[in-house]
Symmetry: C2
Subunit: 200 residues, 2 copies
DNA sequence: CAGATTACTCCACAACTGTAGAATTACCTG
DNA sequence: CAGGTAATTCTACAGTTGTGGAGTAATCTG
């Protein structure tokens, strides 16, 4: 790993920090509209920049999307740390993390982008399915010592995705405005039952 | 070699039942891609018909969408009949109805159209929110004699929407291929708890 | 100073979109 | 048979989309 700052040559970026602005605008647009409906020109306008910059920095719309999906926190590490506390009370920890994380992420979470895009964009759909299966549910399933581990994990997935859609995307009331602890208290037992309870 | 019959101009002889074919094609396309991503030309091609027919029969894309959303069964009547059995075991009845209905609807349910479209199309988003609130949750909330009726109802909504997304849209395994009764057995207690159990 | 390299904008293109009107043909009523 | 109406396709238009190339400006290295 060369930590050397790389002999920067050529024209330095002005104090506009364009790349980051484009990325931020892309995240906003993708969360709001999903992959297809967020146009490059809209994103560029939002960033106060010419549309050509997207090509300059990210080559493609797909490239921009990939860059926008590079999440700040590694979800697998996050989940691993959640799991380290054991299965007892995992439902509650999982849910609290999810809700508090997304409440103040101000709608700009990669997960929301993915959910929203997955409805109309094939690649996103595949990404979401694989992300849920491998990164989230796979790990949970591995931690659960019960028959039907995979089924249990995907049931959890269904409740979590449903919560995201209802609270953050479609915004069904009063769930959308309910305070975090209320949501945690209400939904955690569901997740815990899918984890360790009887499901047959 | 003229393999294609070369579309003759003007009114063709016989009864082609075009309106119904366009409508069916529209339902298929809307379920597969959502409102925005399903183009009029694609729908017309799917129906084996010129795109002008949409205008002829439905005026607008919005008009076509409205027509495609005119559901064969009135959901409010359906829900009312489910509710008539009382709150006892309602979770199970609700879930069984939902799962069996959609499993053999072959993916062409109006609900799936709505869920899929709601992610990118503002009007659909509004429609879904209002449909869930008024038609489904409103009625359920009215039948539940407990504090937090609306919150309970929207929690149910979150689990149901999550199930739809996970099983029918994103197709997370093994939930997507699980047999109906397994799903009912696993999820019904969740719904029942949201209905009558403790949520605080 | 001369390149080289990067940052950035402008313009063009082909494809696709929803909408609109005109033209053509078939069927129905009298 | 005459005339109207419905059914259908064709052509056109203005807008938007992702992409690509060309050109300009700023800064670096040598």
């Amino acid at each position: 790993m060369t930590s050397a700052p790389a002999p920067r040559r050529g024209r330095p970026p002005g104090d506009r920090n364009t790349r980051a602005r484009v990325l931020a605008a892309a995240r906003r647009m993708f969360t709001e509209r999903g992959y297809n409906a967020a146009s490059l020109r809209d994103i560029a306008r939002e960033a106060g920049v010419d549309a050509g910059m997207v090509r300059h920095y990210f080559v493609d719309k797909a490239g921009l999307f990939r860059a926008a999906m590079d999440m700040p926190v590694d979800p697998s590490a996050l989940i691993a740390s959640l799991l380290s506390g054991g299965v007892e009370g995992l439902g509650e920890r999982l849910l609290r993390k999810l809700v508090t994380e997304w409440d103040d992420a101000g709608n700009a979470s990669a997960m929301i982008i993915l959910v929203r895009s997955a409805m109309t964009h094939d690649e996103s759909n595949r990404m979401l399915r694989e992300f849920i299966s491998r990164q989230v549910l796979g790990r949970i399933a591995a931690a659960v010592d019960a028959p039907d581990r995979e089924l249990r994990a995907s049931l959890i997935g269904s409740q979590l995705v449903g919560l995201v859609v209802a609270r953050y995307i479609v915004r069904v009331e009063p769930l959308a405005s309910a305070d975090p602890e209320t949501v945690v208290a209400a939904v955690a037992p569901t997740v815990q039952r899918y984890l360790t309870g009887s499901i047959r």
